[in-house]
């Protein structure tokens, strides 16, 4: 052994010192820099898997909803929306399940939400129920006609539309879309069988429209108001405005 050491040239021995220092330095640095669990399962830190696993779940899953709301789920499971899970519309529900009083879920009621799925797009698969929301009862929230838990399309009231489709089409797009025809037109039952001899009437006084549009009228804030004393006093309202598709 001594012979071997003697046989090694001096410069090699001297070189061995920095080499050994580098190796030791590498081992020491590696000890501090590489996490303890690195390489346990592969070339990665095993703890990273647990960190990912420990993330908070926000969507509870459809089974969790049915535990309390079984009545609604029972209705929904027989409807066209049976494949649609509750949290799609009501949002993530894990917090609500933990604390049903503190975290209440909401449901989107505006007309922008349902068209995300049901607005007509040529890229959508054939047969998927779609509408053109611009002409499909605009201004009416979807839930006023469709129950989202049982969305079978209701049959539209066709009494007047059957003959006056062109008026119905305009009216459906207008701000007056929610008003029944008979609110303004008193119509005798006989009009259906003998229309010409039993014509419906139309408002004859300015006060009829004023019931909603006068400045002191009891109506929604959104209804435009006019001063009945000064606003076009000579005319009945419908002589200037078209009530089936009024301006604005």
């Amino acid at each position: 052994m001594r012979n071997i050491l003697n046989a090694i040239p001096d410069q090699i021995k001297r070189l061995a010192i920095p080499v050994a220092l580098v190796i030791v330095g590498f081992i020491v640095m590696r000890h501090f820099l590489v996490p303890a669990d690195f390489g346990l399962y592969g070339r990665y830190r095993a703890g990273a898997v647990d960190e990912t696993v420990s993330r908070v779940t926000k969507y509870a899953g459809h089974k969790a909803c049915a535990e309390c709301h079984d009545d609604i789920v029972a209705v929904k499971d027989k409807s066209y929306h049976r494949g649609l899970e509750c949290e799609v519309c009501h949002g993530p529900g894990a917090l609500h399940i933990k604390d049903s009083g503190g975290s209440r879920l909401s449901a989107p009621k505006d007309r922008g939400y349902c068209p995300l799925c049901h607005e007509y797009l040529p890229s959508r698969p054939t047969g998927f129920p779609q509408i053109v929301s611009e002409s499909h009862n605009p201004l009416k929230p979807c839930v006023s006609c469709h129950n989202p838990h049982e969305p079978t399309p209701p049959s539209a009231p066709k009494e007047c539309e059957a003959c006056h489709a062109e008026i119905a089409r305009s009216k459906a797009r207008s701000r007056h879309g929610d008003l029944a025809c008979t609110l303004c037109h008193k119509t005798a039952e006989k009009h259906k069988t003998d229309p010409r001899n039993n014509l419906p009437d139309k408002p004859t006084s300015r006060d009829f429209c004023g019931a909603c549009h006068a400045e002191d009228a009891v109506a929604s804030q959104e209804v435009p108001r006019v001063d009945m004393a000064t606003h076009g006093e000579k005319y009945v309202c419908w002589q200037c405005h078209y009530p089936h598709l009024p301006e604005r």
Partner: protein, 255 residues
């Protein structure tokens, strides 16, 4: 002469032995360490192999998956950060292909008039393909992105140095840099959900069941049925990444 040869042999033997012992020290350092506690105790990653099936003909392009993904995984808002998103493909006469994805499809799609005749049009949900031979894992210089034992590709955000190699390497554009941590981010198949027996958030909310999640190996599962039922394709098969996101009704034009 003979003696020198013997000495040389002895020297080499010693050198080799010391190399081995040094290697042993280094390797030992790697495998030693505290036993890692599993938070989902009963979950055994070795008995799973996850995959996703996407039926393109069922996708209605509502973007609920992209929305739920952002909510479930705290993905930053803004139209650049998506773990999953929807693309609309419009194939025009003459072979021209128009692809758009406004805000990842999260706010839905608007009617888009085309000047040329449309041959066909459809939606393609996209996400990390959880490749079996992942290029992103190969290029990561620090072992921050890796394949778990159940085949899901994850990112270790504590280890990631934000060098963006993996963003370049991913052929599917599935990765982004989180502006808050400045580390790489991507779909994890909702790993925190699947270990608890839940499905990923996008699969949970898909209204038309266009997304199917399950085991790629083993017996009957929703995914196994999906794979038997449809003609299956994967994105960019020529790259040999072996994706585990399987598309049914995949058009040649989809990249």
């Amino acid at each position: 002469m003979d003696e020198t040869a013997c000495q040389r042999r002895e020297f080499l033997r010693q050198l080799l032995l010391s190399c081995f012992s040094l290697g042993g020290i280094l390797a030992g350092k790697g495998t030693a360490g505290p036993a890692v506690s599993r938070s989902a105790e009963e979950y055994d990653p070795r008995s799973h192999s996850w995959g996703m099936g996407i039926a393109i003909d069922k996708c209605i392009g509502c973007g609920r998956c992209a929305d739920a993904c952002k909510k479930e995984n705290d993905v930053p808002t803004g139209p650049f950060f998506f773990r999953t998103w929807i693309e609309r493909y419009v194939i025009l006469e003459g072979g021209e292909v128009v692809v758009d994805s406004p805000n990842g499809g999260l706010d839905g799609f608007k009617l888009q008039p085309q000047e040329k005749t449309v041959i066909r049009s459809f939606f393609v949900p996209k996400l990390c393909n959880q490749c079996d031979s992942p290029p992103c894992v190969q290029v990561c210089p620090v072992g921050a992105t890796f394949k778990t034992r159940d085949g899901v590709i994850l990112v270790d955000s504590k280890r990631c140095i934000g060098c963006r190699y993996c963003l370049q390497a991913c052929p599917y554009g599935a990765r982004f840099i989180d502006p808050r941590s400045r580390t790489a981010e991507k779909c994890t198949f909702c790993y925190h959900r699947i270990v608890k027996g839940l499905v990923p958030a996008c699969v949970e909310v898909c209204p038309s069941q266009a997304r199917i999640f399950g085991e790629t190996k083993g017996g009957a599962s929703p995914l196994a049925r999906f794979m038997r039922m449809y003609k299956i394709g994967v994105l960019k098969p020529s790259l040999n990444t072996s994706p585990k996101v399987y598309y049914a009704g995949l058009d040649m034009e989809v990249r």
